[in-house]
Amino acid sequence: MGYRVGVDIGGTFADFCVLDEASGALSTLKVLTTPGEPGREVVAGIGEIEKRFGIAPGAIGYFTHGTTVGINAVIQRKGVRLCLITTERFVDVLEVARLKMPDPYHLFSSRPQPLVTRDRVIPVRERILADGSIDLPIEEASAREALEKARALGAEGIVISLLHSYRNAAHERQIKAWFAEWAPGLPVFCSSDVWPIIREYERTSTAVIHGYVQPLVAKYLASLQASLKRAGVGAEAMVTKSNGGVMSAELGKVACVQMLLSGTAAGVIGAGFVARQAGCDHVMSLDIGGTSADMAIIVDGSPSYGTGETVGEFPIFIPTVSVTSIGEGGGSIARVDGYGRLIVGPESAGSVPGPACYGRGGTRPTVTDAFAACGLIGHGALGYGAVTVDVGKARTAVATLAEPLGRTVEAAAEGVIRVAISGMFKEVSKLASRQGVDPRDFTLLAFGGAGPMVGCWLARELGMRQVLIPTAPGVLSALGGLIADIKNDFIETSYAVLEPASLPELRAAYERLAARATKWVAEEQKFDGTPTLLPSADMRYRGQSFEIEVPLQLDWIREGDIARIAAAFHAEHERLYGHSDTKAPVQTISLRMVVVGAAPQPEFPAQPRADGDPVPAGRITAYLDGAAGEVPLYRRTDLRHGHRFASPCVIVQEDTTTCVPAGFSGTVDAYGNLLLTLDREAV
């Protein structure tokens, strides 16, 4: 038995979670990130773990982490200089994208400049048709000409994305092979390798983002592997993935597109774990940090997945834990405009200078300052002593709103909170309508540095009856990485009508997928248990232009049970859209296989039941629901299994503050999670 360590690197802090496999005990800590020198914070944290908890690096048997090197390269546009090779006469795939502008009401609305500008898009003479047949074979001369041009343009990497390569990748592979021969060492990526989906913009955009960050991410991972080794960590490093799983860092060097959104995904995996632990089957997770507020839907411990999530300004189409941004987080700036309106966000104070109350040079009032001015936070250091809250500075900042609003500082601060909450309410309502769910059937699981601060307000606004606050809300992403399974996705385009004639090919395709998946998990990931194979298909009625992913079962495919496969589609269509048509022909567009190598799930020991009532550490004056009053202040460590407490109250712990306005009753479960239930009459 040893220790498992999970690390999540955010904008300000790197969060560490350490699990003692023998006892199930979990320890956490945060260190400041070192954006200028990524990886250094990891080594610093390993040292800190030894110092604080006496765990030697050699005792770490499993190490996983999520990195922001890739996503930062996209956001800051600091990736490598790429050339893109396309089919002749189709060079504008990135420029034209899907035409629609982000804000169609605005005459100046625009798309971001592509990561590969048009001068670096190079056509080759070739053409593959929709059925995969070759209409115009690729010739060496055309490829050679393209390479010469790319070299002249100073290409540091090349992405090849040709029409219909999802169906026949021969030309992409041929060009890549020639380039490997003619220009050894030049990174070359095929869109059919990165993620072979139909739709040229989506496939190309994904491949370009991959090529843009891959050399940087690979370099970073190599240096991290070396640092860990030097630090004495023997375990092979793992990295978290956007699909909520993990893979080896070695593989991450070539599959880096799969890790770009791993930070938010790992948080949702951590939330899923807590939801299962607390016995909540319908959960909306709310992850709020300094600059972001994200929500995900988790049913029976499993998150929903989607494609088309955004990396910086660009969509990426690989399977990703579906997370929806519902605002800009605790750093959102509040202002009163020329019409007397109180507006919160989208401008954010970010992590630098941050909220005024952090005393790092911020002066404009933020949501976090509003909570401080109401007396709700600032009763203990945040982020393990890394930040202290200066209530005076918060009040000074909020006072600039009080005058134009004709309110007291406290009332203005509460206005900021309410407006910020209503903005999140708007976004969650949209998410719910899009997914066809009712938030009132869900528990709100609040985490991140600021989630527990606003969770109860948002739940009240949405009519959600329960709020769940995990034991360590500030490090849930790190925990998520630690418990995530080894996981990978495989896809083939099918584009067939679901009927007996197409069955042999369907079966063969799934056999190919299964073989690739099993090989990957056993050979590339050295997983020695029995992997789980989860087949699914993207299906639609003929004539529809969009697909839905339908989970299937292996034996339906083996037995050729078309009726069961179709029935699963009709049922999913009915669930999502409220209607289905069992007589209409059904098409399979893409076939998918997910392989999972289950990670050992920690079993946290149940705490002994505590008797009596929890004892507040003190009483504070807080401004809530229009009036100032005394409310109890609890230390999280004093709230034990079985304790009950009333609201309003404030609960402090090392990584966050939980604010509970009136109307909630709190209990503590066997694992230390807080369950806050909204009283019926308070809705």
């Binding site: 006469r89 189709f90 060079v91 504008d92 795939v93 420029e95 034209v96 994208a97 899907r98 035409l99 629609k100 502008m101 804000d103 169609p104 009401y105 605005h106 005459l107 100046f108 609305s109 625009s110 798309r111 500008t117 048009r118 001068d119 048709l129 929709a130 219909h164 999802y166 139909i198 739709r199 040229e200 913009y201 009163v336 020329g338 019409y339 309106r341 109180l342 507006i343 609003l405 309110r407 206005g415 309410r418 407006v419 209503s422 903005g423 309410f425 708007k426 309502s429 949209k430 719910a432 309508s433 899009r434 066809g436 584009y495 004539g543 529809q544 232009s545 859209y577 409220g578 209607h579």
Partner: protein, 669 residues
């Protein structure tokens, strides 16, 4: 008594959430691919009077912010909880503006009183009538454009009127789709009702009522403040559709925008009489009809993006649209293709506002492409299929703030394309090329956006290609403040053979197997003097293939040798260009328009529209065409451009028809 600003902002977010939720519900549950692909639908909430106070932001068409449902609402007496009403008749209150749009409204009650209406529309792929999809420029009266349902209750107190439903479904070509989409619309209404009830429970009914008024007032206040910041004055702008019918004469849309303090008058009186084709825009002459205000909404929101998108922002404006004109046609004028006119009208309004605020709004947007449909047979299966393959659009005009966006932008921002790979899998055609049209943007200090193009080949006999909204083969987008116009659009059959056919503005073509098509939209206009554009930017445009090498030298005066700017030659070329006589005036039009307006001067148009307005409506189009023929035949020496030749021609025409003369004399009295 206003509610406090903090509560108002919260209520604003809740109202927005309600409208967005309605749109997502509709989008999620709609059946037709058309709704999912084009997002040609709206949803929203109105006051009990019918004024929209909440509209979705992310989904749906952008045209109906501030649509007034009042006329249709008032045609139904005695609302009960659970009722749902519909109409798709353009001439019953002018809420619906062409028959494929099925509008719907549902009263939302609270304690026995109507507190709001949930509203919305879906553009049905087909609503019956003379042609599949119900739309064709060639249609001449609304009766040919599909079944029309005047405002009626389709659901009474929760019970569907099966008779009405069956009448509608019996008359359309794809009844299952219409029925599926209708159900989605009903689901959207129900969501709206539930959300309003939740709001009332949260805020209280009085705060809700007052808050809705305040939201509209807030929109009005913001719009007024914005208009007050525009210098008082008259700002004129006119533009044309190439043809008023297949092979016809131009259609003029003219606006005199009068800014007076915090109010705006949009006087469209200089626009053409109503047409014998389906390009008419039915507004009933309403002062703030939404189809007249779309461009206004775009401009206001662009100038202040914090503007709430509700009916309040239209209050400071008033439109003047005389009856019997293209913007206020009399029944039973056909209206199906009004979107083509509306799109150009948006550009006219943008032009007038640009005239008022040259530094804050863009030059002319791209236009003239088309929404492409193919009807063909799959040679392998024998299956006949019809599919929308792509919208062919273009970018935004340049502005003081920078280059126009390429490919799409400005008022061409809400449509999505179809991937080449999906088109080739779904439709038995071969896409030959798709992308940006090089060198199509108007030169300028800030370049106009490029257009897109599409080339394809068909494979079976009797293939029909429709290109809805084809225009701009004659006239072009306009440049501003020294910037130049963008390129023309084009539509060519067998463009890659030695017998190409220029189809100009044709919008329906029958093709043989092996035939190829190329369609391009027109480029957008440039802004500012192109000889002042940073040579490095011109070089980058050339490197990117967005501007041709020759154009860099000819239009921008930038001489590029061996891939680098030749500074000396550039300085010399630019000096020569600046010394040469150059066109003056705020706007620059293409050569065809300059030529046309030598003949059809502003004075000639004033004379013509003035005289035509004195004729009975059913004579106007006829007389207009006769006058055009006479002017065309007139020797150049007789033309003065001061209106006199038009008056002469007009009187000759009136004299030719003894039936008309007394009617004209009567009007003159």
């Amino acid at each position: 008594m206003q509610i406090d600003p903090v509560t108002l902002q919260i209520l604003h977010n809740h109202a927005q959430a309600a409208a967005d939720s309605m749109a997502y519900t509709l989008f999620r549950t709609a059946h037709s691919t058309f709704v999912k692909e084009t997002e040609d639908f709206t949803s929203g909430l109105t006051t009990p009077d019918g004024m929209t106070f909440a509209s979705p932001r992310e989904l749906g068409a952008t045209w109906f912010i501030g649509l007034d449902y009042g006329n249709a609402i008032r045609m139904i007496k005695d609302y009960r909880p659970g009722d749902v009403c519909i109409t798709n008749d353009p001439y019953s209150g002018y809420v619906c503006t062409h028959p494929p749009d099925l509008h719907m409204w549902k009263p939302i009650f609270w304690e026995g009183e109507i507190v709001a209406f949930a509203v919305g529309h879906i553009h049905n792929t087909d609503i019956g009538g003379a042609v599949p999809a119900s739309l064709s420029r060639a249609l001449t009266e609304v009766h040919q454009e599909g079944i029309r349902i005047p405002p009626a209750k389709i659901i009474r107190e929760g019970v569907m009127d099966e008779t009405l439903l069956q009448v509608m479904l019996t008359n359309v070509r794809m009844p299952e789709q219409n029925w599926g989409d209708l159900k989605a619309q009903i689901a959207s209404m129900t969501t709206g009702e539930r959300k309003v009830h939740e709001m009332i429970r949260k805020f209280g009914v009085e705060t809700f009522r007052q808050g809705v008024k305040d939201l509209l007032d807030l929109g009005e206040r913001q719009a007024r403040a914005l208009i007050a910041s525009i210098p008082d004055g008259d700002y004129f702008f006119a533009d044309y559709l190439d043809e008023d019918a297949p092979g016809g004469v131009p259609v003029r849309l003219a606006l005199n925008l009068q800014i007076r303090g915090d109010e705006a008058i949009l006087d469209f009186s200089g626009s053409d009489p109503q047409l014998q084709s389906s390009l008419n825009v039915p507004t009933g002459g309403a002062e703030r009809h939404i189809l007249l205000m779309v461009g206004y909404n775009y401009c206001l929101y662009t100038l202040d993006p914090t503007m709430p998108l509700n009916g309040g922002i239209t209050r400071p404006a008033r439109c003047i649209v005389p009856e019997g004109t293209i913007l206020n046609p009399k029944f039973p004028a056909a209206v199906g293709m009004r979107s083509m006119t509306c799109t150009r009208l948006q550009g006219v309004i943008m032009g007038a506002f640009q005239n008022a605020l040259p530094d804050r709004l863009p030059a002319g947007p791209s236009g003239g492409g088309a929404i492409m449909n193919v009807k063909t047979t799959d040679n392998r299966t024998g299956r006949l299929l019809m599919a929308s393959i792509d919208p062919v659009v273009g970018g935004a005009g340049g502005s003081a703030l920078g280059d126009g966006t390429d490919g799409s932008g400005a008022n061409n921002s809400f449509l999505k394309n179809t991937p080449v790979e999906i088109n080739e899998v779904e439709v038995p055609i071969r896409i030959l090329s798709y992308g940006l049209v090089p060198d199509s943007g108007g030169p300028g200090l800030h370049r106009g956006g490029l257009a897109t193009f599409l080339e394809f080949r068909v494979a079976s006999p009797n293939t029909v290609v429709t290109a809805r909204n084809r225009d701009r083969t004659r006239f072009c987008s306009w440049g501003a403040d020294g910037g130049k116009p963008g390129n023309n659009s084009s539509f060519t059959r067998n463009f890659d053979r030695n017998d190409p056919v220029d189809l100009a503005n044709t919008d329906v073509v029958n093709l043989d197997p092996g035939d190829s098509m190329r369609i391009t939209a027109g480029g957008a206009g440039g802004w500012g003097d192109p000889t002042e554009r940073d040579p490095a930017k011109v070089l980058f445009d050339v490197q990117q293939g967005k501007v041709f090498l020759e154009s860099a030298e000819r239009e921008y005066g930038v001489v590029i040798r061996d891939g680098a700017v030749d500074a000396e030659a550039t300085a010399a070329r630019r000096a020569a260009m600046r010394a040469a006589p150059r066109p003056t005036g705020r706007f620059q039009y293409n050569a065809a328009r300059v030529e046309y307006e030598k003949l059809w001067t502003a004075a000639n148009y004033d004379a013509l529209t003035g005289l035509l307005q004195r004729l009975p409506v059913h004579w106007r189009y006829f007389v207009k065409r006769r006058v055009f023929e006479r002017i065309d035949r007139m020797p150049a020496a007789e033309r003065r451009g001061d209106g006199s030749e038009v008056r002469r021609a007009f009187h000759v025409v009136v004299g030719e028809f003894p039936e008309l003369a007394p009617l004209f004399a009567e009007a003159a009295d």
